[in-house]
Amino acid sequence: MNLLKSYFLPRLSQWLITILVGVTVTFILPRLLPTDPVERTLSTLSSLQTMDPRAVESLKEALEDLYGLGGSPFEQYINYWKRLIRGDLGPSMSAFPTPVIEIIGAGLPWTVGLLISTIFISWILGIILGTLAGYLPKNLWCQIMDKIFISIYPIPYYILALILVMSFCYHFQVFPLVGGASGKPEISWSYLSSILWHSFLPATSLIVGSTAFRFIMAKALTSTIIASDYVHYAETAGLSRWRIVLFYVIRNTLLPQATDLGLSIGAIFSGTVITEVVFSYPGIGYSLYMGLLQADFNLILGITVFSIVGIATAALLVDLSYPLLDPRVRYK
């Protein structure tokens, strides 16, 4: 109960405040623009396709309603929230009249699936390998691994992604270049394996870079932890290597590693936009890119709001995991 009050509530309110501020910014920004968003949207739209004037008129109303330009600013603000909570983000301009929420709904599983799996794999892989390299600095394999990761780390992500695309999609044509899966969606081995197959390169490109970073961080953390009294003592008592690495070293690096993960989730999300563009992966990052190219204001706004909520929630989950990772956190 105490833990709930002193730990969960402050973090929950922090989460709410983050979302409140973020969404408020998305409300204010378009209103600060010198152009009228409705007019601009309409002109964008009509430049993309020919529309009949009546449809334009009704769309104009819908847009005004959508941007909430009627009434006092406060009413507008309240209406804006109401719409968001209903999940009504208006129609997409570039794929008119498909609602934005549908586009996001279609892309979200791909992005979330790609993100969560790559974050987990690289987090675990980087921590295990980095800890081993830090614990056994004289081991030949660890030294080789160390050299490899240290040379990979400074390579800019898009270069890495392009190299992968060039070599395995064009040159060797091992992997498909476009899409998230092939065949029709169903729970079958062939469909699921096609998902894995399509996601292999984008996931690899993300995993390589972030594993390298995680590896370097884990190695640095390990070098301080193996100098600690409790590791020395466990070694003196003859505890086996795997027990020490697992329960004495890695276990003690999890808190800083989780903190870092929580802090970098936003950056990781931005990273997937590049991934999805380079690999033509059908997630919301790809949609965002298309939205930007075509000035699809609704879509951009919708994805922004979603990513604010998504990133804040992911950070909250990481934050809430601290007491599980370090018993001392409860009492601070």
Partner: protein
């Protein structure tokens, strides 16, 4: 009494290199020591004189930059062990079941993210083929025997007081009934009342198990209460060794005399004199007798030659020309 462990001419140096300059700290310099079965041997000396380093050599936990330059160290259990050249298997075989260790600064020796119960499991299961519930049962019973609450088992280290943590560490080190226990400053950093409890606990375990305890402490008061025999270290050298009574009643080495004199006494309220001067840096110790810059009796020979450790009779050994010259 039989000898359970013996060090001969041990030299343990910290050899470090920075910016191409080699620095050698002679933390243990030619120390020979016999540890007798079932005794409590106290090792005393000022901070930095090499007590912990000596323990490392006696335990065989030598990691760079520490290096054994010379000497041997031997345990005599059913078979004898060459401590300084044991294989990994041998180390695992004798640690905790035969030789155990209570480290200095027990505050940080328990894994902060592991419950005491799990730490006990880790240490016991390393040496005995027991599962989790068996090790928990074993630890619980042992703690009870030592008069500690079983609740300690479910706590994390940070939830225990300093004294409690120290007791838990002592229990952890002695749970497999080792014959030989090394304890490094087990009472330092505890308040006086808790100190007394810890001393009591150590004595109790030693007596019940009939084990041998090597106790390092800079606190002569602790030695007075606990030790059968005391070895006095000064600047990496053994300067005096005798049974506790002789050390306190008839200290022969001028340094020991200072140590005894600086002890507070109940019947005397005057300020106790502390030892003049400072202990020497061990990377460049004084020639001859290392105590000579601080010694009120220093003679010519003291600055040139190293006084040998001489048995003055009844196992009372000292390394001082004042005494050995007199004798010859």
């Amino acid at each position: 009494m039989a000898i359970i462990a013996e060090a001969k001419h041990l030299k343990a140096y910290y050899i470090t290199q920075s910016y191409g300059i080699e620095r050698t700290v002679k933390a243990v310099d030619d120390i020979s020591l016999e540890i007798k079965e079932k005794e409590i041997l106290g090792i005393a000396g000022e901070s930095g004189c090499g007590k912990s380093t000596l323990l490392k050599a006696l335990l065989g936990t030598i990691d760079p930059p520490l290096k054994i330059v010379d000497g041997t160290m031997q345990y005599e259990f059913e078979e004898s062990y060459n401590v300084l050249s044991m294989s990994k298997d041998e180390i695992k075989q004798i640690r905790w079941t035969k030789v155990s260790y209570i480290p200095q600064g027990s505050m940080h020796v328990l894994n902060p993210v592991r419950k005491i119960r799990d730490t006990f499991h880790d240490f016991i299961a390393t040496h005995q083929n027991l599962n989790k519930s068996e090790t928990t049962q074993l630890s619980q019973d042992y703690l009870q025997k030592l008069g500690l609450s079983g609740q300690v088992m479910n706590a994390y280290p940070h939830q225990l007081s300093g004294g409690m943590r120290q007791r838990a560490t002592i229990a952890l080190a002695t749970i497999l009934s080792p014959k030989l226990v090394f304890a490094d400053e087990p009472t330092t950093a505890l308040d006086v009342l808790v100190q007394r409890g810890v001393v009591q606990l150590l004595k109790e375990i030693q007596q019940r198990e009939g084990s041998t305890l090597v106790l390092v402490s800079h606190d002569m008061g602790v030695h007075a209460n606990l030790a059968d025999r005391i070895a006095i270290l000064y600047a990496g050298k053994l300067v005096e060794e005798a049974d506790t009574r002789s050390i306190f009643k008839n200290p022969l080495h001028p340094y020991t005399q200072y140590l005894i004199e600086s002890l507070p006494r109940l019947d005397d309220k005057t300020e106790r004199s502390s030892i003049p001067g400072r202990p020497p840096a061990l990377d460049n110790p004084p020639e001859g007798c290392r105590f000579h810059p601080r010694c009120p009796h220093a003679m010519d020979i003291c600055t040139k030659e190293v006084p040998p450790l001489v048995d003055m009779g009844g196992g009372h050994k000292t390394a001082c020309f004042l005494v050995s010259e007199e004798k010859t």
